[in-house]
Symmetry: C2
Subunit: 355 residues, 2 copies
DNA sequence: ATGAAAGCGCTAACAG
DNA sequence: CTGTTAGCGCTTTCAT
């Protein structure tokens, strides 16, 4: 593999000059010499070793992303946002899948320390904040994404889940509903707690008493939404509307409703959360609360890069993003979503017969 | 940041000894010395610099994963498989999102070269095989995942798409269908070509003539499946069954069918492809062809690690995985899928009132 | 069983 | 404007 000394030798200059050309400094290089060097670099397809540069400069061009679940479509969008900004700024991202396991999170923290990453974007798996301390105590800038973290110095970017719960419930109240069921999830982290708080706040503000029997606990799966609605339907006074923890639960609830001959939204209004594309395909009538997932990723990348490159903290290190209310058409297929890659070249000429 | 010399100094040994302890070789270290060193390492929470090790040993513990679309649930599972095996073997994965853009693929190839990754798992974005050559010509072991590649020396792992198309069509034929429509996609890579070839092969084998008017081209979106079915329905003799390129298209077709009052599967049988969980939620009656996505990722990771660590190629470097036929219940919700994280602790005690 | 020392490919200070 | 050189933190060969 060709290295800097080879380039220097071929170009007839010193290795230092090659560096100055590559890095555009810190010393000026004459136009002639620069072009000679660049030509050799091009001809040999030389790529400087990031490893040697990182070792020497005691900095690195890599980021760590610790994420609970790459499989979740919600996080998939976050990843895209993070990776996009990182790429634009010359950073490469290590993907670290914690699988909602805080032991694995800590293992990855150590791996990222060994890799001497420039910074870490951490989407917590549990409420254990040890990974954060372990990173910053070792001098690695870290931000918390998608979660509020109660550490004075900790930067974070999350979504206003309280607001989401409030807006969702307010919407249902304004449709005339008085009995609004909520499907919660096991409380580990702040998301569901805040959403339910928003739900209760809206009820209070509109003078509707909170009925704890209308708040049931569901899990992360479709099945849990399904079962939650079955539970609601077995009540003496079933709710006429549902606020689901997320769209996944909502889909399950919708399925249960259909099975019982209940029409959405004529007989039962449902508001979900997260605006998962698949949910809109399933039920065009599903109203949902959308989070700026892609933007959250982008903002996260931008914030960590600022932390890495600036001596002092950027002005804003604690960001709570607004949610957006998404009301879909209540009839017809949900094809309002504009997607890319929609070009359909005519391939009739390419069609081939099976022999 | 504490380094190896610090450890050596504190433990009262030479830096070399510290290395021998960390690496368990290549030279033996007395039990006493080893434990003394390990204690200091533990107390100082020392993490050796992967960067320095990589520079010195001219090897690295990182892999590159070039992937068209992290957002696609299909690839999300592949990532999990890859990352799982990599983690178990002490490798960290750079995630490189090409976005179906071969220019960006090449940019990432250069970034991975700079990072001196030990190997690359490449899921091609287009039929351009330049990335492969660029990597292997520079001494970076590379395997192609999820696609067949027609290069003698190129290792790959893909799925038997032909078989999938055949099985899907055979299933429909055995249900008694004679007019079976196929929804294709723009042919860029081998997947759709092979699936359609399998479709045609099955028709031939069962003596059903191929009718090109029953093969329509759809894109990657739900919408395309929707439109494809509308096209079929406008024919004088619409098909009584559909083989869709994938479940996404199938969902669109199902939506169109429902809209026209056509029942699935009573009036129209549909077989999809890829077994995307969301699809089964949408339509429990959707039969599909499942690929071993997670296993493909794991096998890919294993293969690249073998290539990295062995002088000569492993026995099998070209693997075509069998598909699996998934027939779902034709009634009721699709809750047969067993998922993890299904524990639902009672949180009633944690419920808090909104103040 | 252990220490000393060369050098991986770079960056940047020092010296012309 | 350019060349020389001292390390960055390790691995590993050479000594002892």
């Amino acid at each position: 593999m060709v290295n800097r000394n080879d380039i220097a030798r071929i170009a007839g200059v010193s290795p230092a000059t090659v560096s100055y050309v590559i890095n555009n400094g810190p010393r000026p290089v004459s136009k002639e010499t620069r072009e000679k060097v660049l030509r050799v670099i091009r001809e040999t397809d030389y790529q400087p070793s990031a490893i040697a540069r990182n070792l020497r400069s005691k900095s690195s061009s890599t980021l760590g992303l610790i994420i609970p679940d790459t499989h979740n479509p919600y996080y998939a969008e976050v990843i895209r946002g993070i990776e996009g900004i990182a790429f634009e700024n010359g950073y490469t991202v290590f993907i670290c899948h914690s699988g909602y396991d805080d032991q694995r999170e800590l293992q990855y923290v150590n791996i990222l320390r060994m890799q001497r990453v420039a910074g870490v974007i951490w989407i917590p798996a549990t409420s254990n904040s040890e990974p954060y301390y372990k990173l910053v105590d070792n001098g690695i800038p870290t931000i918390v994404l998608d979660h509020f973290i109660d550490i004075e110095s900790a930067p974070y970017i999350t979504t206003n889940n309280f607001q989401g719960g409030y807006i969702a419930t307010e919407h249902l109240i304004k449709l005339g509903h008085k009995r609004i069921g909520a499907i919660n999830r096991p409380v580990e982290l702040g998301h569901s707690k805040d959403r339910i708080l928003g739900y209760k706040a809206a009820l209070c503000d509109f003078g509707i008493p909170v009925d704890e029997s209308l708040i049931v606990c569901g899990g992360y799966n479709i099945k849990n939404g399904y079962e939650a609605l079955k539970t609601f339907l077995s009540l003496n006074h079933p709710p006429t509307a549902i606020f689901a923890y997320n769209d996944i639960q909502a889909i399950g609830a919708i399925r249960a409703a259909y099975q019982s001959g209940i029409r959405i939204p004529q007989d039962l209004s449902i508001v979900g959360f997260d605006d998962i594309p698949e949910a809109s395909f399933t039920c065009p009538a599903l109203t949902t609360i959308s989070q700026a997932k892609y933007d959250m990723g982008r903002l996260g990348s931008e914030m960590i890069l600022k932390l890495i490159n600036e001596q002092d903290l950027p002005a804003e290190t604690k960001i709570i993003l607004d949610v957006q209310f998404i009301e879909r058409e209540s009839t017809g297929p949900a094809f309002v979503r504009q997607e890319k890659n929609d070009n359909q070249p005519d391939i009739s000429s390419e069609k081939k017969k099976y022999i």
